[in-house]
Structure formats: structure tokens, C-alpha cells
């Protein structure tokens, strides 16, 4: 039986960060993820690595978030981007709340390389963003950083792996027990081999996110989380030049951010007792967001909605206060006082804190192991983020569009050279497979070989395949063919990949289905049902959790 120093359960932003930290400190590390890297909560977030100003009532957290942004600028320069944000103020009462915020934000601005908050006249505001409501009184301008959450998690996992950690996806922990030698034995089911495997470790870190309570429950440890669900509406392009933050129908703040080649409108926050695997955005959530942003951006309904996404936040279990009052900090629960020594669980936290969370839990892990090794995750860059990239030169050198190279850079930084290198022997791999993003065949091949995807959905997380306006209409079958080549899939598995991917896209496309999206969907049905006849496929398709739930 394999013995580890530490086993991390969960491959989201926290789990991958912990795996990276543990590996960097030389611990014998195993990370177990039930599905794929970043396949749950973090995959449904907007990617904002917020300076924390939304949490002004918690100044320690604002300090921590601001400092983490500085670290991300150092370790993740190629996968972060800075977005200007406007907060249009439409009523006098909006003005009063701005001052305090501006002061707190500006205090920490210089270290993050952003200007202090500016108050703009309506004329200046409209120059920056003509789509905002011209009736505004003034606006507040500031800048925040964003990160590609999928790439962050993948790179953390890859970095951990390169430093010796075992990263196992599609491995679901099914049982845990204390052994006589004060170790924890972890049994998991490997879905790729359909085998049960056993491993042991001195310490187990529970980074299960919305499932953290269930994971703790396997050792009869008590853990409470306050599950809170949130929806985003995704628009087909960058409908605004800059991010917009505005007050929602109920006085909460919501946002419309340009994000990659789309725009994200979010988010809702609803206490939830649903199974996180079955979450789908509701019509109420969609209309709440549209109605709310309509005051700030009156033309929003003219934009084409391509999909929604719904995720579950595992908040710290503070009750009888509104969701907005629950701490945005995190807690590491050491279950030792309950008699379960060696199990550490997370609740709460935000994307921007994932490195910090990893550092503090790894400190605790080291202490339990009797080791004293310093954290360096804030110093050493993630793979591909050691230097900047000359996009124009590479585009000319490899005879490929600058747009395609720039998108490659934003995902892989300096490691994009390895992708382009493949096209020397295979110039046909310069072909664009997903035209919306765009993604070239070489990147898909590279990702399949180096980044352990098992499905087309995993590939989507690695290369943003099928995330644009056509939502995989024209790339699904092409990418499935490439996956089949690389992984040696059978004809049936090839069909199942297509069915699986279409089903996952449909989960998000269906709730807001309207307008121009109807003709897009008519093309999808035309290709995959009418012509390919996959609506009558004999392949043994397993319904997805959200499909079973209805």
C-alpha cells in the first residue's frame, strides 16, 4: 500500500494550491479529485482575484487579498489580466457609499500597480463605456485583476506533479479510517480503471469545497458549511469595454465583466441545500441578473445570451445573517480536538486566497509531520509564467494569426513555444479547431499529451474549447476525433464523447434559451441529430446527475 506524507482530497483551486505547496516543500504528496481539475465551484466563478474591497468590514481580509494579488502578479503574470471597472451611480444614495470604499482601495493601490479610485463625470464615464446609462450622476473608476481559473488550477496541479506529487483525477474517495499506527487509510474508486485503491497518509487535507462536510463525515468528523449557490449569465462577446459593477434589485452588488472572449453577468447568492452535482441556473436567477444590470446597461437584453453557469460556494457556517454578512475569510478546521488527529478541513475562502489557504494549511501539515520547511509558493512562478512572451514575433515565425498566439499566451505563457514547436513536424496542426476562441489543433494535441484530460470537457477546461458563441457547434466532432486519435478511443467511445460534451453544454444553454440562440441551437440539432443521427445513437450513454434529477 502506498504511503504518503499528505493526501489532499479535492482538485479545485484550493486542493491544487495545497498540492503544489506540499510538493514544493518536499512532502510526499497525493491529490485525489473525483472528477477533473477545476470541474466544480472554481470552474463557475468569474476569475476575479479581488482586492477584497467588497469585504471592507473585514480589513484583515482586504489586506490579505491585496497582498495575494501582488503575489499573483509575480507567479502568474501570463494568466492574469487587469480590467478597468466602472461603477455608475444613478441616484444620490449611490454616491454616499463610494467614499469609504475609495479610501480603503486607494490605500493599497500602489502595491498592486493600479491607480487610486477616480470619480468620473458622466461625460468621461460615457467616453470609457458608451453602453452605460447616460442618466448617471457620476461613476467610480478603479482596476482589478482577473485570472483564468481553469489555467490556474491546471498549472498548480502540473507544477505539483513536476515537483513529485501524484495528481490523480477521476478518483473518488469512498472510505477513510484511522489505522493503528495513527495513520489515515484512504480508499478510493478509480473511475478510469474501475478499481478500488488504498493509500495511507499521516495527514489528510480536505479541500472538498461543497462536499467538504461529506468527506469529513467519512471519518465521523463534524464539519458544517453554509452552501450558497450563484449563477452567471454568459454573453456571446465582450459587450462592454470595461467591467461594470451595479446595485441589484435587492441592493446587493452585481457585475458585468468582459471575460476572455465573452462577458460574464453575475452573480446571484442563494442559500442552497441542493446536491451540488445537479445545480442548474433558474429562470429567476437569470431575470434577477438581467433586470438588475439593465439600470446600468440599458441595452443588455439586445446581447445574445449563450449560456448560464451555476456553482456552489462552501461558505463558513455562520447562520442567521444574510449571505453578504458571512465572512469571506476561510477557516482551517483541525479535527484533532474531536479525536480525529491528522484531518484538516477547509471551509469558506475565495479564489484570490487559494495560495494563502494552501500556505497556512501546509504549515499545519508540516508541524504535524514535525518538519519546518519554508513556503515558497509566493516566490516561484507557475509553469510558463517566468517571463513575458513576444506574441508578434512568434506569430510571424510560425505563420499563425496574432490572435491565436495571443490566446495561447494567455493560457500557457512561455510554454506556448512547446505547442508551436509541434507544428514544425505537423504543419497541418496549425488548423483552427475551435474558431470562437480560437484553438489550434497543436494545442489540443499538446494538452491531451501533457495535461491528462480524459474527456472533451476536460479539454475545454484546458484550452477553452467550445466556450465561445457557438458553444461547440462546429468544434465538438472535430475535437472528439483528435481525442480519439490520441487516446485510441473506440467508435462508441467517440460517440459518447460527443454526447457527453453536448450534454454538458446544453446544461448551461438551456435555461436562458432565447433570441438568436434559437437559430444556433437549430444548427446544433441539424448537425448532431438530423444529419449525424446521434439522437438515435446506440452508444451506452449514462445520464448526467442533473439529467437524472429531473
Amino acid at each position: 500500500m502506498n504511503e504518503y506524507d499528505v493526501i489532499i482530497i479535492g482538485g479545485g483551486s484550493t486542493g491544487t494550491a495545497v498540492a503544489r505547496d506540499c510538493a514544493m516543500r518536499g512532502l510526499k504528496t497525493l491529490m485525489l479529485e473525483r472528477d477533473d481539475i477545476a470541474s466544480a465551484t472554481v470552474g463557475t466563478c468569474a476569475g476575479m482575484i479581488s482586492s477584497g474591497l467588497k469585504y471592507m468590514e473585514e480589513p484583515d481580509i482586504v489586506d490579505m487579498c491585496s497582498q495575494e494579488v501582488v503575489y499573483f502578479k509575480r507567479i502568474a503574470q501570463n494568466i492574469i489580466m487587469k480590467n478597468p471597472i466602472l461603477t455608475p451611480m444613478l441616484e444620490m444614495s449611490d454616491l454616499s457609499s463610494g467614499g469609504n470604499f475609495a479610501e480603503e482601495y486607494s490605500k493599497r493601490a500602489a502595491s498592486r500597480d493600479v491607480p487610486p479610485v477616480l470619480f468620473l463625470t458622466p461625460e468621461d464615464s460615457l467616453k470609457i463605456e458608451p453602453k452605460i446609462n447616460p442618466e448617471l450622476i457620476a461613476s467610480m473608476y478603479f482596476e482589478e485583476y482577473f485570472i483564468d481559473p481553469f489555467r490556474l488550477c491546471i498549472l498548480q496541479a502540473l507544477d505539483a506533479r513536476r515537483r513529485g506529487a501524484d495528481i490523480r483525477t477521476y478518483c473518488e474517495v469512498t472510505e477513510m479510517k484511522k489505522t493503528s499506527g495513527n495513520m489515515i487509510e484512504v480508499a478510493f474508486f478509480n473511475r478510469l480503471t474501475a478499481q478500488k485503491e488504498l493509500v495511507t497518509a499521516k495527514v489528510v487535507v480536505n479541500a472538498g469545497g461543497p462536499w467538504a462536510d461529506k468527506i469529513a463525515g467519512l471519518l465521523n468528523a463534524r464539519l458544517e458549511i453554509r452552501l450558497n449557490k450563484g449563477a452567471h449569465v454568459i454573453l456571446d462577446r465582450r459587450v462592454v469595454n470595461v467591467g461594470i459593477i451595479a446595485k441589484a434589485v435587492d441592493g446587493r452588488m452585481i457585475y458585468l465583466f468582459p471575460h476572455e472572449n465573452t462577458a460574464l453577468l453575475g452573480t446571484t447568492a442563494l442559500d442552497s441545500w441542493e446536491d451540488p452535482d445537479t445545480l442548474v441556473a433558474s429562470y429567476d436567477e437569470i431575470e434577477y441578473l438581467l433586470k438588475s444590470i439593465e439600470w446600468a446597461v440599458p441595452s443588455i437584453r439586445q446581447a445574445r445570451i449563450i449560456r448560464t453557469m451555476e456553482g456552489a460556494r462552501p461558505l463558513v457556517a455562520q447562520w442567521k445573517i444574510p449571505e453578504g454578512k458571512v465572512t469571506r475569510g476561510y477557516q482551517v478546521v483541525d479535527h484533532a480536538p474531536d479525536g480525529i488527529d491528522g484531518l484538516l478541513s477547509f471551509t469558506g475562502g475565495k479564489l484570490v486566497m487559494c495560495r494563502h489557504m494552501a500556505e497556512s494549511v501546509t504549515d499545519m501539515v508540516c508541524k504535524k509531520l514535525g518538519k519546518d520547511i519554508k513556503c515558497t509558493t509566493h516566490i516561484e512562478p507557475l509553469p510558463g509564467n517566468e517571463a513575458s512572451v513576444d506574441v508578434l514575433a512568434l506569430a510571424a515565425q510560425y505563420n499563425i494569426s496574432r490572435h491565436a498566439v495571443e490566446r495561447l499566451r494567455a493560457r500557457r505563457g512561455t510554454e506556448l513555444g512547446k505547442v508551436l514547436e509541434l507544428t514544425r513536424e505537423h504543419p497541418e496542426w496549425l488548423s483552427t479547431i475551435c474558431a470562437c476562441e480560437p484553438v489550434i489543433e497543436a494545442e489540443i494535441r499538446y494538452a491531451i499529451r501533457e495535461e491528462f484530460p480524459q474527456t472533451l470537457n476536460d479539454l475545454r477546461r484546458r484550452v477553452r474549447l467550445g466556450t465561445g458563441p457557438c458553444q461547440g457547434t462546429l468544434c465538438t466532432f472535430k475535437a472528439a476525433g483528435i481525442l480519439a486519435d490520441e487516446l485510441g478511443l473506440s467508435g462508441e467511445q467517440f460517440q459518447l464523447e460527443i454526447l457527453d460534451y453536448l450534454s454538458e453544454r446544453w446544461k448551461g444553454k438551456r435555461p436562458p434559451m432565447r433570441g438568436e440562440q434559437l437559430s444556433q441551437e437549430e444548427v446544433v440539432q441539424g448537425i448532431y441529430a438530423c444529419v449525424a443521427n446521434l439522437d438515435r445513437s446506440d452508444a451506452r450513454y449514462e445520464p448526467k446527475p442533473w439529467e437524472e434529477a429531473s
Partner: protein, 457 residues
Amino acid sequence: MDIKADLLVVGGGMAGLVAGMVGAEAGLKVVVLRKGQGATAISSGAVDIMSYLPGANVPFANAIEGLNAVSEIYPLHPYSVLGYSDGGLPVDPERVVARVSEAVDWIKGKLNGSPSALVGDLGRTIQAVTLLGSSKPTSLVQGTMFVEGSDDWHDSIVLFVGFRGFPDCNSSITAKNFLASRLPGENRPRRVANCTLDVLPFGQPHNIYSFDIARYMDREEGFAELAKTLKDHVRSTGADFIAFPPVLGLRRARANKFELEDKMGAKVFELLAFPPSVPGLRLQNALESALSTDGGRLLIGHEAVSFEKKEGHVDSVAVKTPQRTFNIIPAAVVLASGKFIGGGIKGDESGFVETLVKLPVVDVESYQTAGARPQRYTNILALSPEGHSLFGVGVAFDSMFRPTGTDGQPVADNVFAAGSILSRYNYSAEKSGLGVALATGYAAGANAADYVKGALP
């Protein structure tokens, strides 16, 4: 500048062009408006008649069985309406089959000699092979997509062709899936093989599109080059059949197929296409030139934007191009503007509406859709034999294919409708799209001609 026309057809896909041709054949002065390229031009280029009952996994034995079943089960289906006598129920299934059969024979005649000449009939299902290697039961395919013996692959060797830098067709997985989709013993080929040809229409081996190869194949040098490259693969695999992605040419596709068969000593056929579709455009082009042969006038890039109606009669339709707006004064109108792709129907949070005349839209079961969100007409499964009833919404219509209002009465005495703008059938689940477009275009065109001549009962 106003234009007078006996028959104005709004929409230049299968339904509209067929209606226009029928009108022109009857001696009418016909104008067909086509805004852009619609669903016909991006279709696979095969004409489905009626392959499945929605919800059923097993296809009909042939289209005749399908039409009989529809007549029995869905008396309001556009096909069933063809079987009404004296304007109403019951449906006479034999009449349905006879009228669809008449339209099929007619269109085969129209397209005869064109690059998209059709093969097949209602009595026989063709199991066409798709770009993914899956099979799809249909009734009519273009001659280039057909080989005798394709219903029995027994003991044969099938070679799937791909092109380097043409990512739409991965001949390796297509071959694998083709084999996997066939049970051992039953029509199963002895062996499949695949090859990747190196042809460079533009000198670069990447981002090659189906139309690049098709245009290359339309040139003699291109075809000769390809034939030379292919020969070795045919020889080394001993192929009996050669499955091509749908790129055999836009103009010379038929000649290319027969010449290749001759040179290779093997049967050649094209797979069913996805958009952008060479066979789809071939079909579109052939229909357009048939309309012009019949004396009909096609206005491309022209969109009908509004209309004037007096006393239940549409007497003027405003038409817009990027340069100008003018009126067409029609004696009769056929609405064949399609569903969502064509732009005939649109839907949002406030419900569905027909876009030109603002006709009410009903669902497959004839319920009004005003105020209903599109999501309501979707299934939780992306793909299923039931499909999404979303693709069955459209305008209601009477036995003459005149669109009707909420009172069930025709909205105008001189307006007819054809193709996917019609409700009460789900073409995607049935696999009946171009078939219904053909049969209803044929009927609506004839009804409109009768109306103009004062002969409509």
C-alpha cells in the same frame, strides 16, 4: 419603384424555390426573395422524407410506411393535410403518399442533369453514411452520395478518405465508428481502412475547408492530382468502396465520381455533410437555376420587411436591400421564410412570433405560444429521440396551407405558407425537413397559382 408579381415568395430555400417553380410552371410571373443563405444551403444535401416517429428509436422501413403512420397518428401534420379531401379530415393515407410521391418525382425531374441530381424513392430507405461514420436513414440522396450495394457492405473493403489539414473529416475515427455502428455479420464490411491525402489547394497544409477542396476538384488539374494520389491507397488496401468527405466538387461532382470509379476500379460515394456543406450549396444552386429555367426571378440579398393588408388581402410587401427599399405588389404570397435559421420565426422571453406578417405561432400540439418562454419547449436531454418541441413551433395553417390566426381562419385570402415556418411537425426528431419543405412548397405553390387564376376552391 414598385414591382408587380403574380406570386411573391418570401424565402429562397427548398420550400420557397419549389413554390416559385410550381408558380412559374403554371405561367405566373414569379419573384422569389432570398435574404441570405438559409437552412437548405447548409443542409447535408440529402432529402429526408419521414424516417422516424418522434420518440421512436427504430426507423420506418421506408417513407411510405412513415407517411402512413403520420397520416394515422398526426392528422394535423403538414403531410397529413395533403391527404385531406374537400378541405378536411379524415386523412386519406394513400392520397398523402401519392402527393408526396408526385412532388418527389417532380423534383427529381427538375434536378436531373444537375450536380445534385437525386437518387432514391419513397419505397426504399437509404442508410447514408455520415461524416462521423454513423448511419442515417433517409429517402433521397444526391447521386454523388449513393452507390448501389451500400445497403449491404458484406465482405467488402471500405476506404475512408481524409485530407491533410482538413479537420472536418478525421478519416481514421470515421472508419472506426462506421465499423462499430454495424453489428457483426449484418451488412458488416470485411475491413475498413483510411488514408490521408496530401492536396494543397492554396499551398498551405492547414485550415483547409470543404469548399477549398471542392473548388480544387472542379478544376481538371486538381482532379487529376487527387486521382493520382488516391490510386496508391486504393491499390494497397484493395478497396471496393471509397468513402469521400462531401467535397467531390460544386460543379463537376457527378463527373468526378464516375471518373474516379472508372480510374480506381472501386465504387465512390460522398459522406453526409455538416455545415459548411458542399452538397447543401450544390442543392441550393441547382434549385435556383431550375427556378431561373422556369422563368422565375430570384432576388438575392432582398428581405421582406413589412406588408400592407386591406380587407383580408395582402396587396403590398416592402422589400429592403442594403441600397434601397421598394414595394412588390403581389397577387399571391407564399411565406417560406423558414424557422429560426431562416429567420421566419423568432422567440424570446415574451414568446414566439412570425417575423413578417406577425402571425401568431403555435406549438406542435396547436397551442398558442404567445407569452411562453422558448425554454419551455426544450427537453432536459440535449439529444434524444423525442427531440425538442422547440423545433416544431410555427404558424398554424388550413387545408390550403394558408396561415391562420387565433380564430383558426386564414389571415389573408392570398397568403400561403410552406416549409419549416409551418408548425405541427418536428423535422429534427422525424428527419423530415427537406421532405416537408418539398411537399408543402409544391402544394402551396400550386394553391397560390390556383388562387391567382381564380381556380382555388
